[in-house]
């Protein structure tokens, strides 16, 4: 036909919404003001572990402006369920969290009551006057020791501090270790982190007694799940619960999961028949919103003299905190899936415990499990390289799974638990690794290092390679509705500030050949949307994008039927479908069309990171000078947005390694409850991040897209830690993912101190 079709998939379109956000016009949840709106404040446990003897709200109710107060006695005995079937277990289902603590409190920050007042200041006054009587118990804090008999139990009725042990065996690890020339054995720790988006969580709920409809506004990563849960708890039909997503100030995996507060606020709105707003404050955020990453791994890795990686054995402890939350066992499942990574192991054996402790529950944070696993594995690979006196890049290069071996599966063998096989559908890992080294200018970095060292500086180069599993199913639906203005795409995935609306519009505009501006994307209101699972695991573009493709196919079929031609003859152009010489029909006339994309399993993509660092041994300060990453996205829908996502995730990862840490004292009291203590990086501490987007396609979906929203994080800890280890050389061992100045100084000067071991020094 005439003229080139518009090429929008792959085009660096500017992000939608920017104008509004730059003008300060975005409506975030705290900006919602409904007539008669009340404000909730949650009363939280001040103790890490204790018997809850009583919660007395009578004094609080006497404070002017206070409208209501709830304790566990006032609500049904419910538990917040696990959202993902593959992250569930019968055991995990026995240690779920109730919206309000009943007879035991298990972490500092656990909700024990909620008060409602006509003003947030008054609500906070009232919360202080709720008397909470707690008989303190000894807390469980040490991961590896948590299951020793001397330890108290986080959940007495459960009888153990290990929820489950996950086992995965591949090949004959014992045999492989026997024939190995080199075995390196270490205990590595991943420190505890918070996603800490700049906007804290929040929620507004409003119940309309006339229609019986409850409307909830807030961050809504998993809108339909939240809707289902609230309808069950409130005794409503799912269709009588509307979940509306508003502008969101960052999600990173933690926002929008159903938390205790979501249930409390909805319940209050229903009971009081007035709108109720709850805005988490930053202190609450640091104790109440999911924590992430804390793990300990005892790992040995085997290689032969020629630099062949043979196998590894790992015994790990993955902290879940005081309860298993909506993401179930993912804090242990995901590290397990990501530990083998891109190398051709002959055998391995993994035993990972999902552990309970008296700390804030743990969930997923951008690059969950994979960031931790990549640090563990890649640090070990460097230690093996040192033992072999081999260049770490060489060692990696020679052990990457070759393209000819694809698809590749580490089939779980005898002794494995009920696990999904670890499978890589395709990709050319060695070629992608070379692209990474190129993008990073690896040879120049080595020159830089040589020069810096000859000038007496402690300079290092760190490399990590990884596999990211993303884009989990089961499916996503998308509706395409043509109207006079163009087309509307309705999808149930969510926006977490990642620009999903722009990417989806590009896909639809290209497939339907309409101007980009004529495509509207709606994903805000469950009342208007088809079924869906939400925004997590870098799945939104993959799942909803392919669902758009499916819907377009469906529209093609409908148009063909209307026009009396074969579907293959239908051409879309400018809001019209033409069927050869059979005439044309406007998209609006085709009617709303639904497409579904179903997806089994996960999509694996390869990536890596390289950085150059210097360390000042006098004060322990680490500076990251250059940071480059490469990630196989299959096909970039919008390279500009993708770059922003990848670089932003890397910045978070670098900061997480350099400064951030959620620390606790020996009583389980959280120490990082302000943003002065939870030190997120600023522009002054971060290098510019170079991003190489690799597009090796993917056989597993029609559009060939893989995930990309989290990947920048995945290699960051490994690369930074390896860079620091390279810089300090024999001077110290880097065994913690945190390379804070104090840790590095201690590692160099006083390794006996706790700061060198991956545990925060406790307050004197």
């Amino acid at each position: 036909m005439s003229g080139p079709r518009s090429r929008l998939i792959g085009s660096p379109e500017p992000r939608r919404k920017n104008r509004e956000l730059l003008r300060g016009e975005g409506t975030y949840v705290a900006d919602i003001r409904l007539e008669g709106q009340l404000h909730a404040r949650v009363v939280r446990s001040p103790a890490a572990h204790g018997r809850l003897l009583g919660v007395d709200t009578s004094e609080a109710l006497g404070i002017p402006g206070v409208v209501a107060a709830l304790t566990a006695a006032d609500i049904d005995d419910i538990r917040i369920p696990i959202r993902l079937p593959f992250a569930e277990s019968p055991e995990a289902n026995r240690v779920l969290q109730a919206p309000l603590a009943t007879d035991v409190v298990r972490y500092v920050g656990e909700p024990v009551a909620v008060v409602v007042a006509d003003d947030p200041y008054a609500a906070e006054d009232a919360a202080e006057h709720v008397l909470v009587d707690i008989d303190e118990l000894e807390p469980v804090l040490d991961l590896a020791a948590s299951s020793e008999s001397s330890q108290p139990l986080v959940h007495e009725h459960f009888g153990s501090n290990t929820v489950n042990r996950l086992a995965y065996r591949y090949g004959d690890a014992a045999a492989v270790f026997e024939q190995a020339d080199v075995v390196v054995h270490r205990r590595l720790r991943v420190h505890r982190l918070a996603a800490a988006p700049m906007e804290t969580r929040g929620l507004v709920a409003d119940f309309d007694p006339a229609s019986g409809v409850l409307t909830v506004w807030g961050g809504a990563k998993v809108k339909h799940f939240t809707r289902g849960l609230l309808s069950t708890v409130l005794g409503l039909e799912p269709t009588d619960v509307r979940v509306i997503e508003v502008e969101v100030g960052g999600g990173f995996g933690t926002r929008g999961e159903p938390y205790p507060e979501d249930i409390l606020v909805a319940l209050l709105a229903q009971r009081l028949q007035r709108p109720v707003q709850w805005i988490e404050d930053r202190w609450e955020h640091m104790v109440a919103t999911n924590h992430a990453r804390e793990q300990e791994h005892d790992i040995e890795m085997a290689a032969d003299r020629d630099g062949r990686l043979l196998g590894f054995r790992v015994r790990g402890w993955c902290d879940h905190g005081a309860y298993v939350r909506t993401q179930g066992l993912l804090p242990a499942v995901l590290p397990m899936f990501h530990l083998p990574g891109p190398y051709q192991w002959q055998a391995f054996s993994m035993d990972l415990d999902a552990v309970l402790t008296n700390r804030t529950p743990v969930g997923t944070y951008r690059g969950p499990g994979m960031t931790e696993a990549t640090f563990i594995r890649e640090r070990m690979v460097d230690l093996v390289a040192a033992e072999l006196q081999m260049d770490p890049v060489q060692l990696r290069r020679r052990n990457l799974i070759a393209e000819e071996s694809m698809p590749f599966t580490f089939m779980p063998g005898p002794g494995s638990g009920a696990v999904m096989p670890i499978m890589y559908q395709g990709g050319d890992f060695p070629a992608a690794f070379d692209e990474l080294l190129d993008a990073a200018g690896y040879d120049q970095l080595r020159d830089w290092r040589r020069e810096a060292r000859s000038g007496g500086r402690h300079a290092g180069v760190g490399v990590s390679a990884y596999i990211e599993f993303a884009a989990v199913g089961p499916f996503e639906d998308v509706d395409i509705v043509g109207d006079d203005q163009g087309v509307v795409i309705k999808a149930a995935v969510g926006s977490l500030g990642q620009g999903i609306e722009t990417a989806l519009a590009q896909i639809a505009a290209e497939l339907l050949d309409v101007p980009l501006d004529d495509v509207a994307v709606e994903f805000h209101d469950t009342a208007e949307l088809p079924q869906g699972f939400g925004a997590f695991a870098s799945r939104s573009t993959v799942l909803a994008g392919n669902a758009i493709a499916a819907a377009v196919d469906e529209m093609r079929a409908k148009a063909a039927h209307l026009l009396g031609c074969a579907p293959g003859e239908v051409e879309f152009r400018g809001g019209v479908a033409t069927g050869g010489d059979r005439g044309s029909v406007r998209l609006a006339e085709i009617g709303p069309t639904r497409g579904r994309f179903e997806k089994e399993g996960l999509t694996a993509s390869f990536g890596g990171a390289v950085c150059s660092v210097s360390v000042d041994p006098a004060d322990g300060r680490v500076r990251v000078h250059r940071f480059a990453l490469a990630h196989d996205v299959g096909r970039a829908v919008n390279p500009r947005l993708l770059r922003g996502q990848l670089a932003g995730a890397a910045a978070q990862g670098i900061g997480g390694a350099l400064f951030e840490e959620l620390a606790f004292d020996g009583n389980g009291q959280p120490l990082s409850v302000t943003l002065a203590d939870y030190m997120m990086p600023t522009a002054a501490e971060l290098p510019d991040v170079e991003v190489a987007i690799i597009e090796h396609g993917s056989g597993s979906n029609p559009l060939g897209i893989k995930g990309g929203g989290e990947a920048g994080m995945v290699g960051s800890f490994g690369a930074v830690a390896n860079g620091v280890a390279d810089a300090v050389g024999e001077g110290a061992e880097v065994l913690s993912s945190s390379v804070s100045p104090a840790r590095i100084w201690h590692a160099l000067n006083d390794p006996s101190e706790p700061a060198g071991t991956g545990k925060p020094a406790q307050e004197a």
């Binding site: 104008r19 730059l22 300060g24 700049m198 930053r282 922003g644 997120m680 971060l686």
Partner: protein, 171 residues
Amino acid sequence: MTGSGSPHPWLGPDEAAPVALTVNGTALEVRVPPRRTLADALRDAGCTSVRLGCEHGVCGTCTILLDGSAVRSCLMLAVQGQGHHIETVESLAGGDGLGPLQQAFDDNDALQCGFCTPGFLMLIESLMRSEPGAGEERVREVVSSNLCRCTGGGPVVAAAQQALASNRDGR
């Protein structure tokens, strides 16, 4: 408000006092009890571009201009605003478009979720007024006042530099 020599100088904890502000050039009187922060008072008055990321003076999302200089509005009581000129992001663009600084943010992908954006815009706006010749290092130092969890702040430095440069060229 209490003037000097007033016989009853104390404002009680629950007493609301009228505070006269000028917000983006327009007189605004708010009635607030002493403990209400300026950030909350501004938000209550509809300036929701003043965002609260920490309420303890670290993140900078609540940055506004007070008499032309960048300050954190969560670190002021509303009563302290008496008689002062306040500017928020609403002052940066005429009509429904973007001002040059906002455009520089757009060009440099200096925003993702946008929550930190108004605070950064006001921070850099004050720098552009007080130090139009600021170099890269100074820009980076000032940008590091605020936190951006999405971008890390690097693109904000680039945006600020572009805005300063085009300012110097007289556009």
